[in-house]
């Protein structure tokens, strides 16, 4: 007990002294490990490059300003492609993730074996970055928008599936009990007791993923999976920094708009 008696008065402490020392020792070891890692990183850095980093950054930004607005018109189609990749990919991902999350949630799964399969799909989708999915898909279905959409969809399945099945597991069980006791069928209990409880989470997760996907879709062009990333890559390879800046500004504007849309949707549903 973390209580000791001083002059017969009980004095309470949060922990036993030995445990307290052990915790201090743990923090000390953690701090030492941090410093050690810092030293290794420092030893492997070529500091000569760092001395003029400020000038380099300054000159890069100088070459980006002013952005080359003349290419804006030719970027509109790739930008539209990017938005489409994100939107269609998200929709496709949600379509697959939605039933999967009901199979994966402990309280709605029809069978533990199905739950294991659903969880395995969700984990494997999550463990691979959209850019890697895109690289794989470009070799399978060829370069272009379609590969991009599939890449976004495959990555979104795990994200939406995981967050949604966690939301399903967190619902209040009493309405489920109440509707089961009326004699309602399983599907009716899902539609009346489970769905209303997860609907705000579902809307929030979906627009959040769409928002992330807009940003991810801008990079897919780097591996040939369509969208504005292709133009950005070309501009970087040509060292046309003013054009790169134009792409940045357009991506920035698109992301701002998508943030605004997702905030509106979340606000409307909750």
């Amino acid at each position: 007990m973390p209580v000791k008696h001083v002059n017969n008065v009980p004095v309470w402490q949060r922990r036993e002294p030995l445990k307290q020392y052990a915790i201090w020792a743990g923090w000390m070891l953690g701090g030492m490990l941090f410093l050690l890692c810092w030293k290794v990183i420092s030893d492997n850095t070529i500091w000569e490059f760092m001395y003029d980093a400020g000038t380099q950054a300054g000159s890069l930004i100088g070459r980006m300003i002013p952005p080359d607005w003349s290419i804006t018109g030719s970027l509109m189609v790739p930008l539209w492609d990017t938005i489409n990749i994100a939107t269609v990919g998200t929709a496709l991902g949600i379509l697959i993730a939605f039933p999967l999350s009901f199979l994966a949630a402990r309280n709605t799964t029809p069978h533990p074996a199905l739950r294991a399969v659903a969880l395995a799909i969700i984990v494997s989708s999550r463990s691979i970055n959209a850019l890697i999915w895109a690289m794989l898909l470009v070799t399978i279905v060829g370069p272009g928008i379609f590969a991009g959409m599939l890449a976004i969809a495959l990555r979104s399945i795990g994200f939406v599936g995981k967050l949604l099945y966690e939301a399903i597991e967190e619902i209040h069980p009493t309405p489920v009990e109440a509707l089961s006791s009326t004699g309602a069928a399983r599907t009716q209990v899902l539609a009346y007791a489970v769905w209303p409880q997860i609907m705000p989470a579902f809307a929030g997760i979906s627009v959040y993923r769409w928002d992330i996907n807009i940003r991810e879709a801008t990079t897919l062009g780097l591996v040939g999976a369509g969208g504005i990333g292709l133009q950005m890559n070309a501009a970087i390879n040509n060292l046309a920094w003013a054009q790169v800046a134009t792409v940045f500004v357009l991506i920035f504007a698109t992301v701002i708009v998508s943030e605004w849309v997702s905030a509106k949707v979340r606000h409307a549903v909750i």
Binding site: A185, P196, Q197
Partner: protein, 272 residues
């Protein structure tokens, strides 16, 4: 109407929640089930509609054995049994009307219920019931916009939408203030008598039970220790159900016309 024979329930943890319960509830009888927390009251009523699976024994509803029925048969048995909950168990994001109509789910198909296209007679019945429980103007409110008493009225209307033969009522007043508790108990008991429903009401408030019910059954440690008229609840019997305690206040309450209000005023006065 309802007949339990040798009903026992042992949970996976090894706890024996119910031990050889034999109980018959005739149609139209309102029965209170009293007993300390953990005595098995909730387990008993949840065994009746099979939210909890009994370990041994038999449950007969209208001479039909429903102890082991599954699938459609189980749903048909359940729709004859309405249930009312302590924490109301409404779907808070659905409207009052949708909550009440959800009592009809066992009578309509999935797509009809999904698209909210219930038969006109169901909707008429829902309006009648909402009027009966005093919420006729509230049908379009969302569940989470109601007060506790109003939520419980919606819960009652949902249970009655099933056109049940039996009502299982689990601590209907435990989350309500004393006045609302009385109104809710009165409403439940009136409706049972109007529609000749049998009812099992789990309740902690012995005085409230005595005021409204026809019969009291006492549970202790999963066993039936009392079964009789509410008037026969003597201090000795209460001791046999709940254990040793000074029951004289409860006794006074029985003789006084309006004692609980007075008692609560006293308590309030003691801690200003």
């Amino acid at each position: 109407m309802l007949k339990l024979t040798g009903l026992s329930k042992r949970y996976d943890t090894g706890d024996l929640a119910l031990n050889d319960i034999n109980l018959t509830v005739p149609a139209g009888q309102v029965m209170a089930l009293i007993g300390p927390s953990g005595a098995g009251k909730s387990t008993l009523i949840r065994c009746v509609n099979r939210l909890v699976e009994p370990s041994t024994g038999a449950i007969e509803l209208n001479d039909q054995d429903i102890t082991r029925v599954r699938g459609t048969k189980l749903r048909q048995a359940r729709r004859q049994i309405g249930m009312i909950f302590q924490n109301y168990a409404l779907v808070e994001r659905l409207s009052v009307m949708e909550n009440v109509l959800s009592g009809r789910l066992a009578y309509v198909g999935f797509w009809r219920s999904f698209l909210r296209r219930f038969p006109a007679s169901d909707i008429q019945q829902a309006f009648n019931l909402l009027e009966r429980v005093g919420l006729q103007t509230m049908f379009d409110k969302r569940g989470d916009a109601l007060s506790g008493g109003q939520k419980q009225r919606v819960g009652i209307a949902r249970a009655l939408m099933q056109n049940p033969k039996l009502l299982l009522v689990d601590e209907p007043t435990a989350s309500l203030d004393p006045k609302t508790s009385r109104q809710i108990m009165r409403l439940i008991c009136e409706l049972c008598r109007e529609q000749q429903l049998a009812a099992i009401i789990n309740i902690h408030d012995v005085v409230l039970a005595q005021q409204f019910v026809d019969r009291v059954v006492g549970l202790r440690g999963g066993e039936l220790v009392f079964d009789g008229d509410p008037k026969d609840l003597s201090p000795d019997i209460l001791t046999s159900i709940y254990g040793e305690e000074d029951w004289s206040v409860v006794d006074d309450d029985n003789e006084d016309a309006e004692p609980p209000a007075a008692a609560s005023v006293d308590i309030a006065g003691a801690h200003p």
